[in-house]
Assembly symmetry: C2
Homo-oligomer: 340 residues x 2
């Protein structure tokens, strides 16, 4: 089997969506496996390549925070050792499988796939960092996006975090990932299209208008956190800048520390109320080379999804989700959690 082939991005012409094929991903390790094997000692901490002192077991470093630190780093941004996309942007091979070109569109899977190690210490998770330290993690994302913007072929950058095995994490050491894509992904295009329609009807940005008391959890100087009106998942949380801003990488230090505080508060409330659930965190931003006429209705935000249930055939089949918790009820519960 062609497991040494480079990654390829193919278009599913039936559903009009892109899929990344990456055999290298099948080889990545998981330190959660020990959980299902009670005979294997939990030697995670000394074996983890993301821990301080194990830097040589990782793929190359891109930068660290603080930048001039030798051993005492707080954050490291490194290459992913099992990347879904190939950094070899020089490669121009665009392959095409099948007979009929229209039914079988494939492009080489070029892009960047990085890992952000959020702490040098194994037991310290994002929630355990201080407000300012969480702000520093967000500023590390921003710095990396500023570098990735320099490549013309990169159209969109997805920042995401998997916390806990049932949220997809294969590594338990606190980390997030940055993927720079040669296409604008379907969720981002759908969002632009939808926000454009709303702007056409109302002359306003949909996310500037989102502030409705029933749905608010908490507010900080520059951000609000809500459970959205049509939350896809129970207790899903969005953190949205109050002032209109299309791109996450416009975030300045003051706002980074401010949103760091609100993000920490949301993680603490979720942990207290929902019993420390696995979760995913995604930053939704505008495409890098966005048409300037789209700026008035694109507005970045952070989405946090606690993993409380398993998706079934209805959701896979229809793309519609069933949520047993009304968002106004979830918002009320989260608003009222008292954090010690």
């Amino acid at each position: 089997m062609a497991t040494n082939r480079g990654p390829e991005i193919r278009k599913d012409a039936v559903h009009n969506r892109w899929v990344i094929f990456s055999p290298a991903r099948a080889r990545r390790p998981s330190d959660f496996k020990s959980k299902s094997d009670p005979n294997q000692k939990s030697t995670i901490q000394t074996e983890c390549p993301f821990c301080a002192g194990h830097e040589h077991e990782c793929a190359p470093e891109i930068f660290r925070v603080p930048p001039d630190s030798t051993s005492d780093w707080n954050i490291r941004v490194i290459e992913n050792l099992y990347p879904a996309l190939s950094r070899d942007l020089e490669s121009t091979s665009v392959e095409c499988g099948g007979d009929s070109a229209a039914a079988a569109v494939a492009v080489a899977g070029l892009g960047f796939h990085d890992v952000v190690i959020e702490s040098p210490e194994h037991p310290v998770h994002l929630i355990d960092l201080s407000e300012d330290q969480i702000g520093e993690v967000l500023l590390a994302y921003k710095k990396r996006i500023e570098q990735l913007r320099a490549f013309d072929s990169i159209k969109y950058v997805q920042v995401f975090k998997n916390h806990g095995a049932s949220a997809g994490a294969s590594m338990s050491h606190s980390h997030s990932q940055i993927m720079a894509l040669p296409i604008v992904p379907p969720t981002a295009s759908a969002r632009i299209q939808s926000m454009k329609e709303f702007f056409g009807q109302t002359g306003k940005c949909g996310l500037c208008q989102v502030r409705v008391d029933d749905f608010i959890i908490n507010e900080s100087s520059h951000f609000i956190s809500i459970v959205p009106f049509a939350a896809t998942y129970p207790f899903e949380i969005w953190i949205i800048p109050r002032d209109h801003s299309s791109h996450f990488h416009e975030l300045d230090s003051e706002k980074a520390f401010d949103v760091g505080g609100l993000l920490k508060l949301m993680l603490m409330k979720m942990s207290l109320q929902l019993n420390d659930p696995p979760y995913n965190l995604m930053i939704h931003t505008a495409p890098l080379q966005i048409d300037s006429t789209h700026l008035p209705f694109t507005h970045w935000f952070i989405q946090i999804v606690p993993q409380l249930s398993v998706v079934g055939g209805f959701e896979l089949g229809t793309g519609c989700y069933i949520n047993p918790v009304f968002p106004e009820d979830a918002a009320k519960v989260l608003r009222e959690v008292s954090v010690p």
Copy 2:
């Protein structure tokens, strides 16, 4: 909290997608819980409401197969006791939350949500039924869809099956579900749009053209099974009628028994090769009230997705999937599995 409220379907105006809110769903039981509690005896079989002799513990029956059977039924189609949608189609209340109509669209959650019990015996799964018995299950879906078509308000019927806890199943007794929706769901609209474009470019139906040797697993008189060119999930399988057909409910008995055989073969190959994985099965068909000009490029098919990995933040964020297995490799493996 408003847990006694009826279901509501809301539109996420940011992503332009519908979410069904249904507090009743939060109360449904799960007989998989015992797995995580080793102290609880496995008394599933005698407690299961889907077993023969426990019919009175179920929501009302819609019909059974054979229709005149008293106790010796093979298949029962019943109402879901914890429905995601309300059958009360008389209700005309269309609610609207929030201040701004365009940002907060909600409609009453009206529709039908049924369960198909595929066997009277607890240990017998779909894979254990004969080819003809699987055909009978498919004909039961067809019969129920024929009934649901009579309602003008029903726009789409999704048939799906969850097998195993990590495929979302809450009940271990072999069953599937039929959900009749008052909207055409996003996956179906995207499919029509995409197939229409292909038809516009080539004058052909994309699924009539899908027969490429590298991707074929097996064939029967009237159907082929393939791993699609841009499979979203590793070892995903599609079963497609050879002759053009828009709606699943056009299936006649001869074809039902033929596809029953091919479906059984696929379940056996998946079980042998992938170690009896949890899986989801979905029937993708055309909307009920389809415009007749759309008939030439809509083509129903069955999708089977073994649950081999967990979705993470990248997929949730972008709507793009990462598949570590090239479809031609998966097809070759499945083609070559020898079934005893």
